[in-house]
Structures are given as structure tokens and as C-alpha cells.
Amino acid sequence: MRRPSVASLVWQQFRYQNKVFWRTPIAAFFTIVFPLMLLVLFTAIFGNDEIEGLGITTAQYFTPGLAVFAAVSATYTNLAIGTAIARDNGILKRIRGTPIPPWAYIAGRVASSVYLAFLAMALMMTAGVVFYGVQIIARTLPAALLTFVVGVSCFAALGMLVAAISPNGDAAPAITNATLLPVAFISNIFFPIEDPPRWMEIAGNFFPLKAFAEAFRDAFDPTLTGPQFHWPQIGYLALWGVVASLLAIRFFRWEPSSGSMSRGRRRRAEEVSELV
């Protein structure tokens, strides 16, 4: 008759969210395989010579950026879609009727997405090192790791925010795709845009992806010196993360909204529940 500890509940959720991820081929493909395909494609298109004016190879430039892209897909996209669908299906409502503290359930979900982000990033960097001669610099690894932790936390929070505000499970992929892809373009994830129009530069600087990608990429730039802690970028990511978390907590719902239930159950009210 022993009550399971909260840590064990989080751990259990973490493990089975991972299991569900690997059993959902589409999510695993877009998070793990698709960014690797982009790396192969970019180096094939542009060749792996030094990029003019940057003094580093194509792969050295793209690999960290695509690692960030994969990590954002693991956190932002997967959390938003997975959580919104779980709410549509009534899984979140079921969870609310069990003894697991709501925040422990959310923590398990978020931890799983962060773990998968690390995995996707590690795979990308390993592929870069093994196949394209990407250099890892020991001196800047602490900066790379800190940037990565703050960055994925920020995008996990944004993913939960999208889940919170999506009216249903169909809206979540629409929102994540319509935001992530354009922002990835203006954040120089796919290729560096030379002399972008002013508005594009402002927009790129506004969204957190560019700060994440630049700070992470510079930690893998052998032409730079120093430890490469980009404090303004890290601070900016943290700010986005905190604001997104507060808004996600404010708007999070455990119950499906009317109409999004299968077989159209009568639901007069969407009750806004507290996250904690």
C-alpha cells in the first residue's frame, strides 16, 4: 500500500512518452530522419568546401543549425501536436481523473521531448563529424550545452503554449508548420541569406530561433576564439521561454473543446483548468 513517489511517476511518464514517440513513425521520421536528409542534401547541393566569406565548410555551418532545427522539431512541434491530440482524444481528461499530479504528467511529457531533442542533436552532430569532417571544439562545448538546454526549454514551453491555444488536434500541426518553416528560413537555418530586406532581418531577430541557431552555431565555429557564451541570445531565449510558460499555464485546458470530441458529445463549457 505504498504511494508511488512523484519522481517515479515522472520517470514512468517519460519512459512511455518515449515509447509512444518511437511507435509513431511519422513523428520519428520528421524529428530524426528528415533533418539528417537535409544535411545530406545541402552538402550535396552546395558541396562541402569553405563557404566564401565565412571561412568554414558548408557542413560546419549547416550541421549545428540543422541540429537546432531537429531539436525544435522534437520539442516545439512534437509537444504541441502530441499534447493537443491527447487532449482531443480525452487522454488528458483521463489523466486528470487519476492520482498523478498534473504537473508530473506534463513534466514527463516535456522531459521526453527534451531527451529526444538531445538525441536528435547528438545524431546530427555525429553524422556531421563522421561523414562531413565537422569539428567539435572542446573549449566551446560548455557554451554549446548551455545554449542547447536553454533553447530546447524555450521551445518546449512554446510547444506547450501552442498545445494550450490550439482549438483542437488538427490546428496544432497547422500552427507549428506555419510558424516553424518560415521562421527557419529567416533564421538562416537552411542557408544564410545575404543582405536580407530590413523587415526580414527584424522578424528574424524577433523570433527566438535565430538566437538559438546563432549562439549554438558559433560554438562550433573554429574561426572564433573565446568560450562563445552568447549571453544576450541565451537571455533572449530564456525570456521567450518564461513568457511562453506563463501563457501556457494560463491557457492550458485538460478537456477537449466542444465539437472536437469524437462522435460530437454535448459540451457546453470548456473549463479552463489550472496546470498545477
Binding site: Q12, A86, G97, P99, I100, P101
Partner: protein, 297 residues
């Protein structure tokens, strides 16, 4: 101590009153059915007791807890079978039962539950491959996985075909023998009659009748109805009892005492050497009572 004690429960959505002053007392070990048409306030009432919704007013005590603040300790003692709950479709039945079971201090063995709801052959199948009826049985197993003292069953057999319903009833009857308190909602009268010790009929957010399946709505002391074919050459006024002509040559007699009315009638008929064709004595069925109670005014 009663398992559930509710007085004056009220809940509105915007300006729609869903629950309007409901009082319910359910004793420990009792199977209680909340019966009513769609939109009567059943699900709202149950969801408040489950802690899914907050009430606008009234006093609520469930297993000694206020469900809205009972939190983890409360949820460890209840089981909820949702009307349309779902589980991660990528998990197997056994995995789902072990994960959800792991949230409770007391948990029932997944294999035992799988056996009990008759899903042995599907134990390791992904949930997405189950039929609708199998998913509902899994739902029932998930409601029981924490060995709850109190089980909420929200319309457990809605959408079932008659044989699946019989099967589900069999499973639920087994539960009642375990001594668990069960609150079930249904809009099927025969389900309430079959499973419940006590029934409350709810309509427009109010309890309109309460009792055992035998006594609900004054069934026990209601009038009996005697029907028979009027013998040829006899007018309804000639009969020794007050009778009403129905369709064709059928007459209907409404009697406080069926024994006395039948005695008067049969003595009268035998004395005249008449046969009372199609003679029939009925008591109002639970269905009659229910339809009358929930009729639109």
C-alpha cells in the same frame, strides 16, 4: 458513513442551468443509477463528483472528500470510466494497465483485469486495433486498475448492441459482488433496473423520483390495469366495474385492488356464461413510470 452525500448541488453554464438543486445520498457498497434523458444533467453531476468540474453551489462529500480539493488522496480511492475516454493508441492493453495502475498505491494485477473483462486474446495488441466494444471493456478495466472504493460509470453501454450490453452487464454484476460503491449514469431504463440497487431519475437538472427499481415513482402502490375484450352484446356500462373503452372492443379497468376487481368481473362473467377474451392484468412498468416522469410538459 455514506459514500456520497450531496445536497443542493447547482451548476450553470453561462445562463443554461444544468443541475438545479440535486440531493443524493449513496451508501457504501450500493449500486446507484442516475437515470435520465440526454441533457438532463447526469454527466454534469457525475463530473462534479469526479472532480472534473466545480459546482456553483451545494454541499458535496464523497468518501469524506470535497472532490474539487481532494486532489491525489481522493483520486487514489476512485475509479472513473469515462463515456469516451481514450488511451494512447500506440500502447498495448497490458502496457496501458500497468502504466495507469502504477499511479495508485493499490493496484490490481493487469492480467487479472484483462481476464475479468475478457480481453485475454488482445492483451498484447495495440489499442488502436481494438473494436469499439473492446475499447469500452478496456476502459472498464482502467477504471478498476487502482482497486477503487468508489467507481463512476458514465453511460457504460451507450452504443452497444444488445449482446454486447448483456456481456457488459455480466462484468458489472461481478463488480457489484466485490462490494464496491458504484454510481452509474444511463439513459437506458432496463440497464438501471438490471444493475442498480437504487435509482434516481433526473430531468432538467432536478431529481424527479428516487427509489428501488420496484418502488420507483410509486410503482409499488400504483394502480393495476385489467384489459379484456368486451363480450358480444354487452355494453361497457353493463360491467360491474368502471371500465373505459379502448381501441376495437377492448376495455380497460384501472383498479386499486386487482384481486377485488378481478373477482367482481369473473363472478359476473361466469354468472352470465360469458368469456373474457384476452384477459390481461398489468402493473405500470418502470418504463411507463420513467416516460411519465421525464415527459415534456
Amino acid at each position: 458513513m455514506a459514500a456520497i452525500e450531496v445536497t443542493g448541488l447547482k451548476k450553470s453554464y453561462d445562463d443554461v442551468v444544468a443541475v438545479d438543486g440535486v440531493d443524493i445520498v449513496i451508501e457504501t457498497g450500493e449500486v446507484f443509477a442516475l437515470l435520465g434523458p440526454n441533457g438532463a444533467g447526469k454527466t454534469t453531476t457525475v463530473e462534479i463528483l469526479e472532480g472534473h468540474r466545480s459546482a456553483d453551489g451545494g454541499r458535496i462529500s464523497v468518501l469524506g472528500f470535497d472532490p474539487s480539493t481532494g486532489g491525489r488522496a481522493y483520486r487514489e480511492q476512485i475509479g472513473i470510466v469515462l463515456q469516451e475516454g481514450a488511451v494512447e493508441r500506440e500502447l498495448s492493453i497490458r502496457e496501458a494497465l500497468s502504466i495507469y495502475g502504477g499511479m495508485y498505491p493499490r493496484q490490481l494485477d493487469p492480467d487479472h483485469l484483462i481476464d475479468m473483462v475478457g480481453l485475454d486474446e488482445k492483451a498484447d495488441a495495440r489499442i488502436k486495433t481494438l473494436s469499439g466494444g473492446q475499447q469500452r471493456r478496456l476502459e472498464l478495466a482502467l477504471g478498476l486498475v487502482g482497486d477503487p472504493d468508489l467507481l463512476f460509470l458514465d453511460e457504460p453501454t451507450t452504443g452497444f448492441d444488445p449482446s454486447a450490453r448483456r456481456q457488459a452487464w455480466g462484468i458489472l454484476e461481478n463488480l457489484t459482488s466485490l462490494g464496491k460503491t458504484i454510481l452509474l449514469t444511463t439513459h437506458y431504463m432496463d440497464e438501471a433496473q438490471h444493475l442498480a440497487d437504487r435509482i434516481a431519475v433526473i430531468d432538467h437538472g432536478k431529481i424527479v423520483a428516487e427509489g428501488t427499481p420496484e418502488t420507483l415513482g410509486g410503482r409499488a402502490d400504483g394502480k393495476s390495469v385489467i384489459r379484456f375484450g368486451l363480450p358480444p352484446g354487452v355494453a361497457a356500462e353493463d360491467l360491474p366495474v368502471d371500465a373505459v373503452m379502448m381501441d376495437g372492443d377492448l376495455v380497460e379497468v384501472s383498479a386499486e385492488s386487482a384481486t377485488r376487481a378481478l373477482h367482481d368481473l369473473t363472478t359476473w362473467a361466469i354468472g352470465r356464461d360469458l368469456e373474457l377474451e384476452r384477459l390481461q392484468v398489468t402493473r405500470p412498468s418502470l418504463e411507463d413510470v420513467y416516460l411519465e416522469l421525464t415527459a415534456e410538459p
